[in-house]
């Protein structure tokens, strides 16, 4: 059997994957508890516009994706706050709108199609050393932001009105969460691909929630499910010659089904 650690692209893929696996549940727990799971999917689609722009202009697609997802997250949150349209409708507008823009950009730049495929479904072999640096730096920023405002985020997720009354600046903490979600999603693209990102953000958290633990323990379990799924998924992908993104999500889904059935019986 070949030793997968002999391949530098696998090492890079695993390093990037573990960073993404660590931050995904941190964002995911707040999105899931606030009924905001669709936000992950929407921001993933807005990242596609950045990817297409990056490929067209020669800019780093990863950096361009971070920029478009972050910009979209700010506009979505403002729309939601204005209450002129429903929060969910704002997400739908951005989800389909950004997909349409991305398709047009792809039409304009003939020959992007082959490259684009790897962004839609994820492709750890394309992770460059420079990408890894970007992922690590942004990953640290996301973790610092979430740890720094952890207690306020917990309170807002539980009871936003009381949090606001108690003097917590709910509006800009909400905005911060969405921006950090956008960054997380953009840097997760090379690992699981645009179409599967929301699954990585949501499934480990939903699995951990079945265990009915305190907030801290739920988060720790989600981290465990997430990191294990990413590592096992990448290893399975290498030996079975299948897509890493899909393998990761299938392992995560396997955890969910096992926990769900086990808890249902006990």
């Amino acid at each position: 059997m070949t030793n997968l650690f002999e391949y530098s692209f696998i090492i890079r893929g695993l390093e990037a994957g573990i960073i993404v696996a660590l931050i995904a549940p941190l964002i995911g727990i707040f999105l899931v508890l606030r009924r905001y799971s669709l936000m992950a999917d929407t921001l993933a689609h807005t990242s596609l516009v950045g990817i297409a722009l990056g490929l067209l202009t020669g800019m780093s697609p990863l950096v361009a994706a971070v920029l478009t997802a972050t910009a979209s997250s700010i506009v979505i949150e403002r729309l939601r706050y204005s209450r002129r349209i429903y929060g969910e409708s704002a997400l739908a507008l951005f989800l389909s709108g950004s997909l349409a823009i991305a398709i047009v950009l792809i039409n304009v730049g003939n020959g992007l199609k082959a490259n684009l495929f790897s962004y839609l479904f994820g492709s750890i072999v394309t992770v460059q050393q420079s990408d890894l640096t970007v992922i690590a730096i942004l990953g640290i920023i996301v973790v610092a932001g979430l740890v720094g405002f952890y207690k306020e985020l917990v309170y807002i997720s539980f009871d936003e009105e009381s949090a606001q009354v108690s003097g917590i600046p709910t509006r800009w903490i909400n905005q911060l969460l969405i921006i950090l979600a956008a960054v997380t999603i953009a840097i997760a693209i090379p690992i699981v691909g645009i179409l599967l990102i929301s699954a990585l953000i949501v499934i480990p958290v939903v699995t951990a929630l079945q265990l009915k633990k305190s907030f801290k323990l739920t988060l720790l379990w989600a981290e465990l499910f997430s990191v294990t799924a990413v590592v096992l998924g990448i290893i399975a992908a290498f030996y079975l010659q299948i897509s890493a993104g899909a393998a990761i999500i299938l392992v995560a889904l396997g955890f969910f089904i096992s926990v769900f059935l086990f808890k249902g019986r006990s």
Partner: protein
């Protein structure tokens, strides 16, 4: 302890509010003094909750002003002086992964401040707050596993953990059974008399107000009554507003007040 009518903690001054063209509150003025136990009653849709949200700073009045501890509401920074106990039914998510201790700790967060962690003194206050409401044995239980009455006590503890000077309660016993309601009001009475904590209780339950509070404001777009509860129950205003559908009819167990 008698209330101190020289110290206004909340001052509502000619406040009006409208949702679009629909006028909800018109020219509301009254004050809450230190040590008061004020009941705010009124028919559904009469604007009680809207007034509460204005006091809490969640809504801005279209006209008029609210002063909190002597400063204008929008400039008031010491929010932890204002404890808030939300309506039970809307507040708890059964599947939310938080222990009682984690929920009560939230009451300390604004006091502790951004980017800071809870200290040992905060832990002491959290435990003390839980003891005050008789829920100290439930610290590690999940909030969603508790009964409505127990959850309400936890929310009380969360509000108390901020060490407030006023406690504002919005229909706190909706969905709580009669026995636990009585215990809950006993607790409020004790906080008011022994700790001199100022209480503002919004409720549609006239029986409770008549029995428990020291002051009463009846809100139906305007202030239709403000004074002692005893005078209110004998006043023509009560009949005019509540008519025969009065809430207390539903309470067969409790003493009749009129």
């Amino acid at each position: 302890m008698p209330s101190n009518h020289h110290e206004n903690l909340i001052e509502i001054d000619h406040v009006s509010f409208a949702y679009g063209k629909e006028l909800i509150l018109k020219d509301i003025s009254f004050a809450v003094h230190r040590g008061d136990y004020l009941g705010i009653v009124g028919p559904n849709g009469g604007g009680k909750t809207t007034l509460l949200k204005i006091i809490l700073g969640l809504l801005t009045p279209a006209a008029g002003h609210v002063q909190l501890f002597g400063s204008p509401s929008h400039q008031f920074k010491q929010r932890s002086k204002l404890g808030y106990v939300p309506q039970n039914a809307t507040a708890v998510e059964r599947s939310f992964p938080a222990t009682v201790e984690e929920v009560v700790a939230m009451g300390r967060y604004a006091r502790v401040g951004l980017l800071r962690r809870l200290q040992a003194t905060d832990r002491t206050v959290i435990t003390r707050s839980l003891e005050q409401v008789g829920m100290a044995d439930y610290q590690q239980r999940l909030i969603g596993d508790l009964s409505g009455g127990q959850q309400q006590r936890v929310f009380m503890a969360r509000a108390l953990a901020a060490e407030p000077e006023i406690l504002i309660l919005d229909e706190p016993t909706v969905g709580v059974d009669v026995h636990h309601q009585e215990q809950f009001y006993e607790l409020l009475r004790e906080l008011n008399t022994t700790l001199n904590l100022t209480l503002v209780l919004v409720t549609h339950d006239l029986d409770v107000v008549a029995k428990e509070t020291t002051e009463l404001a009846c809100i139906n777009q305007t202030v239709t009554y403000h004074g002692t509860p005893a005078e209110f129950v004998n006043s023509p205003q009560m009949e005019a507003i509540y008519g025969s559908t009065m809430q207390r009819v539903a309470h067969h167990h409790s003493q009749t007040i009129v």
